[in-house]
């Protein structure tokens, strides 16, 4: 009973953290002389107020979930992937190119090929920092951030040059975008909403990632590397390779998110010069969602829906009470800070429980095999 309460408390920590962030948001709204009730009301209305609103929320949640799944894998291996934005972009570019090259092919084939292309594109963009970290000891946080910037410029270059829509070339405006995908290449969607099958794909993948991480040897190794690289090395796990695998897979999921964004929502690639113009900052917000979901693939599902709702609701809030949606970006940042800060309570309780267990064991026989304290320590650092 006690342990179940403990687990419940741990699972609810991110919820408390989010409530705290929303509380800060409330104070900010009051300072801006906007009724928080009205603002959050509009937010809720925009996110869940109608069938269409719910559909939009799920559309927004899809890339968050996919990126978040990759983040679960990477963070479990204790590699921090900040490169979701760039990985999405590169995945999107490769997938788009498939659709633009083979316009005559059957739709199902192109969609499958495009998804694979997106997966590979993201894997490459995540794999490079992985190799740099494992074999050249380059801090992956920094290299992934640089890879983001490189991907943005690559996208801008391609969409203004080699990949630009031929009809745009004739116009004076020269909007940096590709041609539209053929209609048969578009992902199945529930008309009249924009909800597409990509969301279902993401749900299925969440289960697969859960199986990967907790039911396969590879997943075990990835988690072992994250928990204690030294012990893993003595246990015969090739730590460097697993680091690369983790970043590669992490990037691959983000790349897939990019491909699905093109085939399910925009039907083309278009740039406003920044990364978020294409990704909607899902590369960053996916991290927020994964952290909120306790780095658990299944937990990331409700987490991404929640943040998808925040993002969709923010637009409504902007219209109704004239609060720029940037407020939500700021609040997302606070959620991250609060979630990682609240970890201290979980660690403290873990330590207490450990001490409690040891004391209990002392009363009985000498401990047969003491719960490995170093592993516990490593997981908290």
């Amino acid at each position: 009973m006690r342990s179940r309460l403990n687990t419940l408390f741990d699972a609810l920590l991110p919820v408390f953290a989010t409530l705290a962030a929303l509380g800060v948001g409330m104070i900010m709204l009051l300072i801006l002389r906007v009724s928080p009730l009205e603002a959050y009301g509009a937010l809720w209305e925009g996110a869940f107020g109608s069938t269409n609103a719910v559909a939009e929320t799920l559309v927004k949640a899809t890339p968050l979930l996919l990126v978040g799944l990759g983040i679960c894998i990477a963070f479990r291996a204790n590699v921090i992937n900040i490169g979701g934005e760039g990985q999405m972009i590169v995945g999107g570019i490769l997938a788009t190119q498939i659709g633009l090259t083979f316009t005559e092919a059957p739709g199902w084939l192109i969609i499958i090929l495009a998804m694979i292309a997106g997966f590979i594109g993201g894997a490459i963009w995540g794999g490079i920092p992985g190799i740099l970290k494992a074999y050249f000891r380059v801090n992956e946080i920094l290299s992934t951030v640089m890879m983001n910037a490189i991907a943005v410029q690559l996208m801008n270059y391609l969409l203004r040059g080699p990949m630009i829509d031929p009809t745009q070339l004739e116009k004076a405006s020269k909007i940096p975008q590709t041609a539209r995908l053929v209609e048969s290449f578009r992902l199945l969607r529930w008309a009249p909403t924009r909800l597409h099958i990509g969301f279902v794909i993401a749900l299925v993948l969440a289960i697969l990632v859960y199986i990967l991480l907790w039911r396969t040897t590879l997943g075990y190794r990835i988690r072992a590397v994250g928990q204690n690289p030294h012990a893993s090395r003595y246990g015969g796990i090739r730590v460097r390779r697993r680091m690369v695998t983790a970043l590669l897979l992490s990037g691959a999921f983000a790349g897939l998110a990019g491909a699905i964004q093109v085939y399910g929502v925009n039907y083309r690639m278009i740039t406003d010069g920044s990364a978020s113009g294409f990704t909607g900052a899902a590369g960053f917000n996916g991290i927020v969602a994964a952290l909120f979901g306790q780095l658990h693939p299944i937990g990331t599902i409700p987490a991404s829906i929640f943040f998808g709702a925040l993002l969709v609701g923010a637009n409504k809030m902007q219209r109704v009470v004239q609060i720029p949606s940037a407020l939500i970006t700021a609040l997302n940042g606070l959620v991250v800070v609060f979630v990682v800060s609240s970890e201290i309570w979980r660690r403290r309780r873990q330590r207490q429980r450990l001490a409690f267990a040891r004391a209990a064991e002392k009363d009985d026989a000498p401990p047969p095999s003491e719960i490995n304290p170093s592993a516990e320590e490593a997981s908290t650092s």
Binding site: L32, I80, I82, L132, F136, R137, V138, N139, I141, L142, S143, V145, M146, M147, N148, A149, I150, Q153, L154, N156, Y157, R160, G161, S274, F284, I287, V288, L291, I323, P324, A326, L327, I328, T329, A330, L331, N332, G333, L334, V335, V336, V337, F338, V340, S341, E343, I344, R347, S381
Partner: protein, 310 residues
């Protein structure tokens, strides 16, 4: 090709290269202090953005640039204070909480910009203040001594940081906290106090870095105007091997490449896509990270929270 090698062009590139190094210097020197004490502050970009907005807004409304600079320092220091509480007291994972602070600064600066200004405005920033006598030296005077005050302060910061870190008791404490907090603690150095100091100092300097862009270098504020510069500043600390002079070398390398790239955009005879040219500094950072990593060891306690166990 002859255009690019003429004396005036080269002097022009060097002059703007020195000027462009300013934000890197402020941010990276600040980051050097916090990393030397064992704290990775990844929120630099967010602190810069907030500093950039606050300084711009204060300068725009009051017309006083120094007041604007002060505003940026306060904004950066407050974010540093929050960061210090989260990393020192709550022992949060530094890499991730830093991203949180980045998102906060990104959103907050944009929010305030849209609420308070709404449109892109310009301000008359710090103007060129030639240093008497020195600015009259041919070539060198033009490159180094005909800049604005923010540039001079940035370059003076380098020897100052070197002196503090290596020649003062405070510097010794900072370094010992970053290398071996347990030992420092047992000798009576307060790890918490030192880290609070360095993180807040880092935040303040990041705020100034933002101000150096919005009221000295570009004289505008735009959403996400730093566009990754803060992250590059963090990378420069690694490149500079946690030493002030190394950071200076990195900042100059970077800003010179940027200056060359900007110049190339103007010269018609070189047909390199501007998008690809902008990519150069980032590719350079990665190469530089690869090259610099094996050379020197990072502070031993970097990113490790300190727990006194009480």
């Amino acid at each position: 090709m002859s255009e690019i090698f003429s004396a005036t062009v080269i002097i022009g590139i060097l002059t703007s290269g020195i000027r462009l190094a300013t934000p890197y210097l402020y941010a990276a020197i600040g980051e050097t202090f916090s990393q030397r004490s064992g704290v990775l502050n990844l929120g630099v970009e967010g602190q810069m953005l907030l500093g950039a907005f606050v300084s711009f807004y204060v300068a725009f409304t009051t017309g006083n640039l120094w007041l604007g600079l002060l505003g940026a320092m306060i904004a950066g220091a407050l974010m540093g204070l929050a960061m210090a509480y989260v990393t020192v007291n709550l022992q949060a994972v530094q890499g991730i909480s830093g991203i949180g602070f980045y998102l906060f600064g990104l959103g907050m600066s944009d929010l305030l910009f849209k609420m308070l200004l709404g449109t892109v405005e310009t301000v008359k920033g710090f103007s060129v203040a030639p240093i008497p006598v020195l600015s009259k030296i041919p070539v060198i005077g033009e490159i180094f001594f005909q800049q604005n005050i923010m540039v001079y302060i940035a370059f003076l910061l380098v020897p100052t940081a070197w002196f503090i870190l290596n020649k003062t008791t405070l510097g010794l404490k900072i370094r010992s906290v970053g290398e071996n907090p347990d030992a420092a603690d047992s000798l009576g150095v307060s790890v918490a106090k030192i880290r609070y100091f360095t993180i807040i100092l880092g935040g303040t300097l990041s705020g100034v870095a933002g101000a150096s862009m919005s009221i000295a270098l570009l004289n505008v504020f735009q959403q996400n105007m730093t566009s990754g510069l803060g992250f590059i500043a963090v990378a420069l600390v690694y490149f500079g091997a946690w030493r002030a002079w190394g950071v200076l070398a990195g900042a100059l390398l970077f800003s010179m490449v940027q200056a060359i790239q900007l110049r190339m955009q103007i010269i018609e005879s070189i047909s390199l896509s501007p998008d690809l040219a902008v990519m150069m500094p980032y590719i350079l950072t990665i190469i530089v990270l690869v090259a610099s990593v094996s050379r020197v060891r990072a502070p031993a306690a970097l990113t490790k929270p300190f727990d006194r166990g009480d």
